[in-house]
Symmetry: C2
């Protein structure tokens, strides 16, 4: 049995894991995200100590990281975090550091592409060729698998910053995105809900009108996702989606918004199976990172 | 030298072509789009007569077609036009008919995926891994090549129907899309320009405010395209883009709209080379169809 490492590199915590080739996690540890010089050596120590304790060798490590990342294999900064506002982290080369310290191969992608890849291999996207995965929480991010591969390109998708239509009569709130004010993330992330209604999302009852408005923005973003990418399934995770009344509202509004234009049974009669919660739940990130290590996508 | 066929199947005309393996067209014919029983036999006749006259054998035919199309290889209706409002054409199997009559292999994709693929192999997308191609005219359609392959999925992209933000104070016109009123196509296709201003787009002078509004809607749609797909280049063709003042306006407004969020020299300092006109011009459709025949994408 071969063993692989996973690092879900987030802005507040790193989740490190070790798994076997079937995707079964046998060790896991949470490490607080401080500066790179404080956090990364602890990641190395986890893999060194655990592999000694378990008497295994780690063949390679997959990293699903906050970004933005340089994912151009021809770039000298390939694999680096680039222009993040997070102090200490710009130009950090997580895979380079782990490769040097642990002497094993490392693959990196965005946190949401990793989660999308995990769901594609082992979760809600099994047996499909394409899917989109969204996390809707403090930030909004989207990853996508198309023809079996994560989308890269000019940089990588930043789906949270797509355009939605903001009706200022219905919702005079101006949005919280520092770049675009009222893009999707600016109008629908957790902080925008709190700023608009003065109540934390987790304290808003399911009957509060906040959830109808939230479902509307998510549905309009998904309308664009479906017309632009035509994914075979859409998976919605993240803290805001813990409000369970949202998912049925979103499904209804996506159908209404597309208004019969996209002729597919998945939308016209099977939308409950088309827009779904993550099967891997909160482990989508770490398992997606493990998936990158075990089955590195051949780009 | 091997020879290949191309069929650009449009709502008003079919352009048929024969080309060699380098993409060089050696014969071309325009056939009016009437009913399938009138038009398709003429397509067959073109290939039969021309290949006899030129003393060549056509190895395979690529078809770039109006849609919607069933592009699921596992579907019994694979390759058929599905629910088009165009009389006589629903459930038409163009590749099946040509295969039977001409006894050669046929590959089909959407007209815009074909054009995107032609530009990818031989035009503005050479040496790139991804691009998006838009035609902006009577309709608005977008095709995309990601990791070297056209996007399919649930069905195929219908990018003209993505959401843009419609400011009804600035533009009280309600939009012409019969499904969504004020989606991108509803607010920015040729008929919407004519309906809003009472003048045909080709007769509007470049100084008319119509073009600022048009550029704004295109730029906002491209903002979503860039954040969702992150393509390495965007190609804008079609009748409306014949107004040459549009392209510089669009470039400026895309930069303004993204507001520094997507950190890439292609946008921050090289946008004139990032959002471009088609290199293949009006031949993008027929050459893209030829490209599908010569180098069928391995999906």
């Amino acid at each position: 049995m071969e063993h692989f490492g996973a690092v879900e590199a987030g802005g507040t915590k790193f989740i490190c894991g070790i798994g076997d080739e079937t995707g079964n996690l046998i060790a896991e540890q949470r490490i607080e995200t401080l500066s790179p010089t404080e956090t990364l050596p602890k990641v190395v120590l986890f893999f060194q100590e655990k592999s000694k304790e378990l008497k295994i060798r780690i063949k390679s490590i997959g990293i699903g990281s906050f970004g933005p990342l340089d994912l151009n294999p021809l770039s000298p900064a390939y694999g680096h975090i680039t222009s993040t506002p997070k102090t200490g982290w710009p130009n950090t080369d997580i895979p380079g550091f782990l490769r040097d310290q642990l002497n094993c191969a490392c693959t990196i992608d965005t946190d949401v592409n990793a989660a999308a890849y995990g769901e594609y291999l082992w979760g809600a996207g099994r047996n499909l060729g394409s899917l989109v995965y969204f996390t809707i929480g403090t930030g909004i991010g989207g990853g996508a698998i198309i023809n079996g591969l994560p989308i890269h390109g000019l940089v990588h998708p930043e789906m949270g910053h797509c355009i939605v239509d903001h009706d200022e009569k219905e919702d005079p709130f101006s949005g919280v995105c520092p770049y675009h004010s009222d893009c999707f993330e600016g109008l629908a992330n957790g902080p925008s809900i709190q700023a608009r209604w003065g109540i934390k999302p987790e304290e808003l009852p399911s009957s509060h009108p906040a959830w109808d408005l939230e479902a509307r923005y998510i549905a309009r973003a998904l309308h664009s996702i479906i017309t632009i990418l035509s994914p075979q399934r859409i998976i919605l995770g993240g803290g805001v989606m813990q409000q369970l009344s949202l998912l049925p509202k979103i499904r209804l509004l996506v159908k209404e918004s597309l208004n019969g234009y996209v002729v597919s049974a998945a939308i016209t009669s099977g939308i409950d199976g088309y827009i779904v919660a993550p099967v891997l739940g909160k482990q989508a990130g770490v398992l997606g990172s493990l998936a990158l290590a075990i089955h590195p996508p051949e780009l």
